[in-house]
């Protein structure tokens, strides 16, 4: 922890779980501290803002070059938004764990006795915040570049879609990012592991966004079942990740 020189040095205190408070409270405290640390690192380094957001915007422009047809772009705008999100997810996850492995910070956290579920939830939270900013930018770009239209009720559905979809992506990203980070420099494996898992999110979020944008005469109501599916996905991987993260980063 110390060698990252990050201000979250309060976390060793949370490493003693049996300090009277229930374990759950300790986990949440760790999660908040880890998330705060990650977001502070981002605020100071601005890697996401200066590199990942431009990259994602570029992907949106490249899609337009490849598809080369206004109607097709309008039709496929929801899918392209989520495809660009998933590409960017890869970069963000690698960044999130490059921060940890560079100085052996993950090992240090583990040795310090910080609870793995707390680390998992904290990193997921920070990742989710970053992804949410990214998605809002991409949706804005879709409106500008691809002529996607958004009504008031559509916006409600869209926001409701974003939350579970982003949470699910963040959980999965943290889980497999931690796996690849433990393997030291085998980041090429990450897309192979990650992309099959996020396929349900791509399907669900794209359908819900289609309904929100009203693409292909989709009614708003058609979007809500997909939101339910995204919720199930996020819940399952939230629980699974919390349980699995400990054995995964333990060495």
């Amino acid at each position: 922890m110390n060698d990252t020189a990050s201000p979250a040095s309060g976390s060793p205190a949370s490493g003693s779980p049996a300090s009277g408070s229930p374990a759950a409270a300790s986990i949440w405290r760790t999660a908040r501290l880890v998330a705060g640390k990650d977001l502070r690192i981002e605020r100071r380094s601005r890697v996401i803002v200066n590199q990942v957001l431009p990259f994602a915007s570029l992907v949106m422009v490249l899609f337009a070059f490849a598809l080369d047809n206004d109607e097709v772009l309008q039709r496929t705008a929801p899918g392209l938004v989520w495809l660009a999100t998933i590409f960017a997810l890869l970069v963000v996850v690698q960044r999130a764990f490059a921060v940890e492995t560079a100085d052996g910070a993950l090992d240090a956290l583990r040795v310090a006795g910080v609870s793995p579920p707390g680390i998992f939830l904290g990193k997921s939270l920070a990742l989710a915040v970053q992804l949410l900013v990214l998605e809002l930018l991409l949706i804005g770009l879709a409106v500008v570049l691809y002529e996607a239209t958004l009504t008031a009720t559509g916006a409600v559905l869209l926001v409701t879609t974003l939350l579970p979809a982003t949470t699910g992506l963040a959980f999965v990203g943290t889980l497999y990012g931690g796996l690849a980070a433990g393997a030291r420099g085998r980041e090429t494996l990450l897309p192979l592991l990650l992309f099959p898992v996020v396929a349900p999110v791509l399907i669900g979020a794209t359908r819900a966004t289609e309904a929100a944008f009203g693409v292909g005469h989709a009614a708003i109501d058609e979007g809500w079942p997909w939101v339910g599916m995204l919720l199930v996905f996020a819940a399952l991987f939230g629980v699974g990740g919390t349980l699995a993260f400990g054995p995964l980063i333990e060495e």
């Binding site: 796996l179 433990g182 393997a183 494996l189 192979l192 099959p196 396929a199 058609e222 599916m229 333990e250």
Partner: protein, 327 residues
């Protein structure tokens, strides 16, 4: 699960020496003692380079030899029935013959992935934790991936004739493809290196996450396709009316491929055992041995020069993390 010292590992089995060694590492004993322990069997029977240590026995036993012979016979009979004896289908004609290979392999592939998941859970469960489970999981996944590939290939060939297209975005087909990719990823995770325990824990987690992932993929693809009502080629005209011979052939295919599966997992699990053992024992013996195969009198000078061969680099890389200061 996160405890480093597992109660269940306190009594290592007698013959699995390397598990004892690994335990030494885990408990953070000094390296010199560890090296000394691993080296004893090497220096015991004299210079390893001059006299071969093993008598050349492979991974076969009487049981696997009998099973292997029976599998060969079953495969031969299967080829006979599938390609010659069984009649063409009323609707599909000769095309139905592809399905015998298709159904046999897909059954074994799914069986293999179930076995992988169960063995991974058994590894992670403290009371049954043993690297044998990990090796069974790995061996099972390997043959599962191969059979999944055969399944996808035969399925698309069959689909090309019957539906006029190699690929259908049907929930079952898509899930199978995802399963295939997921287990390729699983095998890649197994190859990441690190200690045997690291490999086992990592891959077991990935295998169990796959159990979570696959139903979700299947479910989402199914409702996705039910929303889009197009391209429903897979209806009606592909019913197979099975007569007794066809049913028997189908059963035979399942049995024959299952026998091959058991045979393979037995062998492969032993090969992985030997591989782990060799990794533990260090490179010296293996290299000296390999050299002595060519020149019987090339002896002790081997290790220094041999360290530059590819095998040496690979094994060295995989053994470095065992000396991780944090564990």
């Amino acid at each position: 699960m996160s405890e480093r010292q597992r109660p269940g590992r306190e009594q290592p089995r007698q013959h699995e020496q390397h598990e004892q060694h690994e335990q030494h590492e885990q408990h953070g004993n000094e390296d010199s003692a560890h090296v000394a322990t691993t080296q004893t069997p090497l220096t015991g029977p004299g210079s390893a380079a001059t006299s071969p240590v093993g008598n050349g026995a492979g991974t076969g036993t009487r049981f696997t030899r009998i099973l292997g012979a029976l599998t060969l016979v079953a495969m031969g009979v299967l080829a006979l029935f599938a390609l010659v004896i069984s009649p063409p289908d009323v609707v599909q004609g000769e095309t139905v013959r592809i399905l015998y290979a298709h159904v046999g392999t897909v059954w074994v592939a799914y069986l293999a992935f179930v076995v992988t998941a169960v063995s991974s859970a058994a590894y992670l469960w403290k009371r049954t934790s043993s690297l044998t489970w990990d090796r069974i999981a790995g061996a099972s996944a390997e043959i599962g991936v191969l059979f999944m590939a055969i399944t996808l290939l035969t399925g698309s060939l069959w689909g090309r004739i019957t539906w006029g297209t190699f690929w259908v975005w049907d929930a079952r087909v898509t899930t199978t493809a995802f399963l295939f990719i997921t287990y390729i990823g699983y095998l890649a995770v197994r190859g990441l290196g690190g200690t045997h325990q690291q490999r086992a824990r990592r891959s077991a987690v990935v295998a169990l996450l796959a159990v979570l992932e696959i139903p979700l993929v299947h479910f989402s693809v199914r409702i996705w396709r039910s929303v889009h009502q197009d391209a429903s080629v897979a209806t009606g005209n592909t019913d197979v009316k099975l007569d007794d011979t066809m049913l028997f052939t189908l059963l035979l295919a399942t049995v024959a491929f299952s026998m091959l599966y058991v045979w393979y997992v037995l062998h492969r699990q032993r090969v992985l055992h030997l591989q782990d053992l060799l990794d533990d024992k260090g490179l010296d013996l293996a290299l000296a041995e390999r050299r002595s195969e060519g020149r019987p009198d090339a002896s002790a000078a081997a290790p220094t020069t041999a360290a530059s061969t590819p095998t040496a680099t690979v094994s060295a890389a995989s053994t470095v993390p065992t000396k991780d200061p944090v564990s």
